[in-house]
């Protein structure tokens, strides 16, 4: 998912003494494989992850580790395991999150099974570094998203980001990681940008997988950046792993007018974020999800109401394995034209 394979690989490399394979980058073949063996009406992340698993197994992996929960996704790992076993693959699959909770004892047992020499102290030590790494990555990503549309030299942000992630994966303690982060943040700020003071600003919200895996949203953020738009996205791994419940509580508290009870997955957060984006006078909101994503479908009318109360335009996209790219481009282009016209 995006660049997050880097901290994940880092963590497992450090704590268990086994060979870690990273799944190949998602391509059309991944989704083709995934769709072929998935139920047709399952949401798209299922298809992507299944395709990735098949590719990883074909590359010789024999233990798969998954983090999943929040919505229907919590059941996917068992279903995918069954599908893959029916296909004749031999492997172990571990979902580190069970019934939406992280059980430390269970994870310890799993780790022990993967590597007998696994030490809990070493595990916690590197977990802490990884946690910080994700936090820094997300902070940098946020800065990139706000400015990448205005870079003077093409790809300067992406190249520096690659360089940073590469050096991140070589650290051994959290202090040197912090120093690196500060160093690169300065470098990022030095990248020449040509950003007008009142540029167009758009917030991107919706379902987490589609938001974070650029291949699955047809590089929507890249497309937006090409229109010279500043992009704000809240969903990232740091939020999902460490700030999820806190954000939901805050969301329920701050958006009482629109919802009484907690909605599943990120739906409540999305209501809150919509309100936030409206209050911060963003020019538009884009809500994206994979087709058949139940929590997000359920929350769309509420989001619609918030946005219309504040009179902020919002568009919705549903992505499936075979969405027409041209259709998305036309709608995005029209959205850009509209918010630009409203500005004038």
């Amino acid at each position: 998912m995006g660049n997050y394979y880097i901290p994940a690989k880092y963590l497992f490399n450090k704590i268990v003494d086994v060979e870690i394979l990273t799944a190949p980058f998602i391509t059309s073949k991944t989704i083709e494989l995934g769709s072929k063996y998935s139920p047709d009406f399952v949401c798209t992340p299922f298809k992507y992850t299944l395709g990735t698993m098949i590719e990883a197994l074909d590359n010789g992996a024999n233990v798969l580790v998954q983090f999943g929960g929040g919505c229907r996704y919590g059941y996917y790992s068992e279903l995918q395991e069954q599908i893959l076993k029916d296909l004749g693959y031999k492997f172990e699959l571990h979902n580190l999150i069970t019934s939406g909770k992280t059980n430390v004892k269970r994870i310890y047992k799993i780790m022990k099974r993967i590597d007998k020499k696994f030490s809990i102290i070493k595990g916690l030590y590197y977990l802490y570094i990884t946690k910080n790494m994700v936090k820094y990555m997300d902070k940098i990503d946020d800065y990139i998203r706000r400015n990448i549309g205005f870079e003077v030299t093409k790809n300067s942000f992406l190249n520096l980001n690659k360089e940073m992630l590469n050096s991140f994966s070589k650290v051994n303690n959290s202090i040197s990681l912090y120093i690196l982060y500060k160093k690169y943040f300065k470098k990022f700020k030095k990248i020449k940008i040509n950003k007008p003071k009142n540029c167009l600003k758009v917030g991107v919200i919706g379902e987490l997988y589609t938001l974070m895996e650029p291949f699955s949203n047809y590089y929507l953020e890249k497309e937006l950046a090409s229109f010279n738009i500043e992009i704000k996205r809240f969903t990232n791994v740091n939020y999902l792993l460490f700030k999820h419940q806190k954000t939901i509580n805050k969301a329920l508290n701050k958006s009482k007018k629109y919802m009484k009870y907690q909605l599943s997955a990120d739906a409540s957060s999305n209501v809150f974020w919509t309100k936030y984006l409206c209050e911060k006078k963003y020019d538009g909101i884009i809500h994206i999800k994979s087709s058949f994503c139940t929590p997000e479908i359920g929350v769309m009318p509420i989001i619609d109401k918030v946005a219309s109360n504040y009179n902020v335009p919002i568009i919705y996209f549903s992505f499936d394995a075979n969405t027409s790219e041209v259709g998305i481009k036309t709608r995005l282009e029209a959205f850009y034209d509209m918010i630009e016209m409203r500005r004038k």
């Binding site: 391509t27 059309s28 073949k29 335009p313 568009i315 041209v326 259709g327 029209a334 034209d337 016209m341």
Partner: protein, 313 residues
């Protein structure tokens, strides 16, 4: 004198207008695309050229519609814009106070909401072509009715049949069933027109506030039956302009005028040979479909690549 050409290349029809400096239409044409946008544009440009007074020079070309990119490239257009903007601009030039634009075209349908001449919201149909012109024309063929008589036939009915409007496949089986149990043709046709309206309002117009003045356009706006049911269900007057099918082309012509650079365009494109060649790249597992466009056997552009392997030159 200066004039500007706007072309709207849709899935079913190709529309073209030429306007003068005052946005007045001085030539227009409407022909079928027949699955070949390049040929139909050649034909269209020829028709427009012949009806154009010799005193005019073309100073700008704009393209819109689903083949806008390809045709824009071939004609070297100075503006290539999506249909939503084109329709809004075109309609605003005639009805400056329009609040809602309902548009049903060949394969897509859209709603555009405006306030004080600014687009405030829009929606387009997603996923399927239920409730669009192509559905109507295929059903007309099934019932052996000329599509141009479809609307007037629907007006004859006092008792439109109920047809499941959610999905074209269901609608069609419903339609066959209704025909087999002996409903009159005009009742079935009227039912179809009504189902188009219901489908449109449920899918595209869902949750949108439709304020008058309401303008209805796109090819289907010429269908009197559909217009009747829009008026009936929305309980408001719905205006169909005599040029309603040309609004997209008009809008893009106006945009082209606004962005015109000092360049004179030649409308003699009959003998230019345009060719597109598609290959599957095969360089990685993305297997991009690479489309190469040739003008008189000279490569002018390449589309479809996700990486930098295929770039022009």
């Amino acid at each position: 004198m200066n004039c500007y050409l706007g072309i709207d290349i849709g899935s079913i029809s190709t529309k073209g207008v030429i306007i003068d400096d005052n946005n007045k239409i001085i030539a227009s044409s409407y022909i079928w695309t027949e699955g070949n946008p390049i040929n139909s544009v050649k034909k269209l440009v020829n028709i427009l050229k012949n009806s154009l007074d010799k005193k005019y020079v073309v100073k700008g070309i704009g393209t819109t519609g689903s083949a806008r990119k390809l045709i824009g490239l071939l004609l070297d257009a100075n503006v290539i814009k999506n249909e939503i903007m084109a329709h809004a601009i075109g309609t605003l030039s005639i009805y400056p106070d329009v609040k809602t634009i309902l548009e049903i075209g060949g394969q897509d349908s859209k709603i555009i909401l405006l306030n004080n001449g600014i687009i405030t919201d829009y929606a387009m149909n997603t996923l399927c072509a239920a409730g669009t012109g192509s559905f109507l024309s295929s059903q007309a063929k099934r019932l052996n009715i000329d599509i141009e008589d479809f609307g007037s036939l629907a007006l004859k009915s006092n008792n439109p049949v109920k047809i499941a409007a959610r999905c074209t496949v269901f609608a069609e089986s419903d339609l066959i069933h209704k025909a087999q149990v002996g409903y009159k043709k005009e009742d079935i046709v009227a039912g179809l027109c009504k189902s188009i309206v219901l489908n449109y309002l449920n899918n595209v117009g869902k949750g949108k506030k439709i304020n008058s003045p309401v303008i209805f356009q796109g090819g289907v706006s010429k269908n009197l039956g559909v217009l009747k049911y829009f008026k009936e269900i929305l309980k408001t007057d719905v205006i169909v302009d005599s040029n309603s099918h040309l609004m997209g082309a008009l809008g893009i012509a106006i945009l082209s005028k606004k962005n015109s650079v000092d360049k004179v365009y030649d409308l003699n494109i009959q003998d230019i040979n345009f060719d597109t060649k598609a290959i599957d790249c095969g360089g990685c597992s993305n297997n991009c479909e690479i489309l190469r466009i040739y003008k008189d056997n000279k490569l002018i552009d390449i589309w479809g690549n996700r990486c930098d392997k295929y770039i022009k030159n």
